[in-house]
């Protein structure tokens, strides 16, 4: 496994692979890798000849009052996880390698980015789209893997790739959870033991909503209300949003039809956590 900080080195090696007709799978991450990331890497490993993982805490997708400086980092652990998982290249650039002094371009969209996380994180998805497209241009993957935990991000990237004719297949992978139900997230490390226990309310409330759906409920407001009621039982939880949206367009729906995303964001203490489930009708 190689670890490169330079764009040119990644590009040269990928080009050599492509000349040999190899396929390339790509997993873009911000590092501090957990089993959720590993499931993406495993999928990439199964479906491609070569696997590239990027580890880059992208400044452009953090707002001024967000956790860029404190975002957890552990390159030694990440390198071992990747090595064990059969990764071929880790791309781990410094911010200056990705954004030079005159940098001023961006990729964005009208729609999909205003609801859900877009309400509290207005510049977040612009930063995500821009860095993901840059990484796609550097790695030129045949397939790229994104976790369904960041469901809005997955929808945004799918739309971007379709709109801009990017020749990469986007593959969404299921949420990986702790044994007790908490969705795996690098940000779980921020939680105190008491908050860690309180955070179970996210998956518990979604289970309540999912049970209603399984029982035939199709009214989005009923599902929202049930999830909200469950979340409000937890004193340490503060709701950011509980929403039911079309998974392709990320616009609110009244009735469950087509591909529907039921998504929540909840502050547990100062830590903002997200979780969701998808209904196919």
């Amino acid at each position: 496994m190689k670890i490169y900080g330079e764009i040119d080195k990644v590009r040269a090696e990928v080009k050599a692979w492509k000349r040999e007709g190899k396929t390339v799978g790509f997993v873009p991450t911000m590092g501090y890798l957990h089993e959720g990331h590993k499931s993406l890497i495993d999928a990439a490993r199964r479906e491609n000849d070569k696997v590239v993982v990027s580890i880059f805490v992208n400044p452009m997708q953090f707002g001024p009052n967000e956790d860029l400086a404190s975002y957890p980092r552990d390159m030694e652990h990440d390198a071992k996880l990747c090595e064990d998982a059969g990764v071929d290249i880790i791309f781990h650039p410094e911010p200056e390698e990705m954004y030079d002094d005159g940098f001023c371009s961006y990729v964005d969209m009208n729609g999909l980015t205003t609801e859900l996380c877009g309400k509290t994180r207005p510049i977040h998805f612009r930063g995500v789209q821009t860095v993901v497209l840059k990484l796609f241009h550097i790695v030129t993957p045949d397939r790229a893997y994104f976790g369904q935990k960041d469901a809005q991000q997955l929808a945004v990237i799918r739309r971007m790739v379709k709109d801009l004719n990017v020749d990469t297949k986007i593959i969404g992978c299921p949420i990986v959870r702790e044994a007790d139900g908490l969705a795996k997230s690098s940000r779980n490390t921020y939680l105190s033991p008491e908050e860690r226990q309180a955070a179970l309310v996210l998956s518990r409330s979604l289970k309540t909503g999912k049970n209603l759906v399984d029982q035939g409920e199709t009214d989005a407001s009923v599902i929202r209300a049930a999830i909200t009621t469950e979340l409000e039982k937890e004193p340490l939880a503060k709701i950011d949003y509980v929403d039911v949206v079309d998974f392709d367009t990320i616009t609110p729906v009244q009735k469950l039809t087509g591909s529907v995303l039921v998504a929540i964001a909840v502050y547990i203490g100062k830590t903002r956590l997200i979780d969701n489930f998808i209904v196919e009708k």
Copy 2:
């Protein structure tokens, strides 16, 4: 020569070329090809194994009161010019092939697009960047050719390609002029005989400015004033802008230093024409 309207057909043929190790040169156009375009195609023909020309009047780069509907088209003439020039593929899509119903993505930048033509055409460069990046993803050219007549466009595309790590070399080609000095443009066809004569004031005024530079003048305001005075002598001309800017950043400069763009936009009747020269100091 093949003429394709479908993205998939272009992609498949280019991929076959790439597997054989062929290089691809690309000339994106809006059609109604003239000798300016031909000079780009000729350069692409000289420097690459294969040449793709796109002909697409891109709705996204026209403002609501601009000339999208009346923009001149002549596919028969264009096809012959391309065939004679040794083009391998013309990509000539319908708008629906490029923009589907849910299309909502765009590429843009902070800076470079606000001065010069950006003042009167606020959404123009967003449309240009978006369609050019889409075309780059479809054609995956090694080299792409742009005329210096659209100097701000050339600077914007160069910046976009650098910022987003697009693996295509951008090549700017000199302005091609009529024998009497008028810069070749598809929009020249809008001019009445009287306006056609009046339009000579653009190249004449720039020549006045260039003479000052050649004589050692480095004060941008002196050069602007001389060009403006010359333009004001022509009763049919109405100045949009006369500007002296850094060619990389498209921001106004006081003194000529580095790479400097002296650019003008002038209405001759209802037709808006542009012209420029570049000074390397």
